[in-house]
């Protein structure tokens, strides 16, 4: 093969490489920028922190009377209304158990939101259709004249699949 023929062969290979590189770049960029930002885990964490702030003041649990429970959403500044009409995009569950075992319930649970999300979490922990945050903290709760140690466990689940996943 003479020199000009060899150069032509090289340029053909060069263009094949260029198209391969272009294909790879287009694929990677489309994959990265084509998907929406998934902020549900951050949202669930913020919700847990907000509820923890609402339930505890200076390390002591606030009084969980009927009035507080009935108006829990308003008292903790929560609004689960979204742009989607349906069963609901959020689930929130709060358990109050003894310290350190965490087996016996001290107070009844507070549950609000879409119950189907909790069932979904029990079936599959790693699902693209929702994200969750589960955190617990130690607190002191009034028990007559004395105080008892308790663990407050907060579970928050956020669906919002349409806005956060493809």
């Amino acid at each position: 093969m003479n020199k000009i023929g060899a150069d032509k062969v090289i340029s053909v290979y060069w263009f094949i490489i260029l198209f391969l590189v272009a294909g790879a770049v287009v694929y990677i960029v489309s994959e990265f920028y084509g998907k929406p930002y998934d902020v549900r885990e951050v949202e669930a964490n913020i919700m847990v922190n907000q509820v923890a702030d609402c339930l505890s003041e200076n390390g002591k649990l606030i009084e969980l009377n009927e009035e507080f429970r009935n108006d829990f959403m308003k008292n903790c500044r929560l609004n689960f209304k979204t742009e989607f009409e349906g069963e609901g995009e959020y689930y929130l569950e709060i358990n109050f158990t003894d310290f350190p075992d965490g087996k016996n319930k001290v107070f009844s649970d507070i549950i609000t939101g879409n119950l189907n999300l909790k069932e979904g979490l029990l079936i599959t922990k790693d699902s693209g259709s929702f994200r969750y945050s589960l955190k617990s903290f130690y607190s002191l709760a009034k028990d007559g004249d004395s105080e008892k140690e308790i663990v407050v466990k907060i579970l928050s689940i956020v669906r919002k699949t349409e806005k956060n996943a493809k």
Binding site: I4, D7, R77, N79, T82, Y90
Partner: protein, 128 residues
């Protein structure tokens, strides 16, 4: 044409084609990176999460310079870029469409475009 002239012409065509290819590739990447839809989504979620994590009495300044550039190109008023109704943040950088995201924090949010520096939005989070 002699052989030397032919080699030079082929090389020039080869280099030009390569440059065109690289330019198209870069344009594609940049168009994907800073698209209006991307910015609308980014800012609607960012504002919603900021409001979620804010306590009543908080004031937030958000620099949205890159979004304003796009809004200007598309003929959208700076004052119309962000709107909040109930608990839904809406960001609009194009004439016909916009993107929204809801927040769960049950607070009253007032917002204002900073007409002095033309770069920021102010958000005041207060009790309902």
């Amino acid at each position: 044409m002699n052989i030397k002239g032919q080699i030079l012409a082929e090389n020039v065509v080869f280099i030009i084609l390569n440059l065109i290819f690289l330019t198209i590739l870069m344009l594609f990447v940049f168009s994907k990176m800073g698209g209006e839809a991307q910015l609308e989504e980014k800012y609607s979620k960012q504002i919603a999460l900021m409001i979620d994590s804010a306590r009543p009495g908080t004031m937030i300044h958000l620099n949205m310079e890159d979004a304003f550039e796009k809004a200007k190109q598309n003929g959208v008023n700076y004052e119309d870029v962000v709107s909040i109704s109930d608990n839904l943040v809406n960001v609009k950088l194009r004439e016909k469409t916009s993107q929204s995201y809801s927040f769960f924090n049950d607070v009253k949010v007032t917002y204002e475009f900073d007409s002095q520096n033309q770069k920021e939005y102010y958000f005041f989070v207060d009790k309902k």
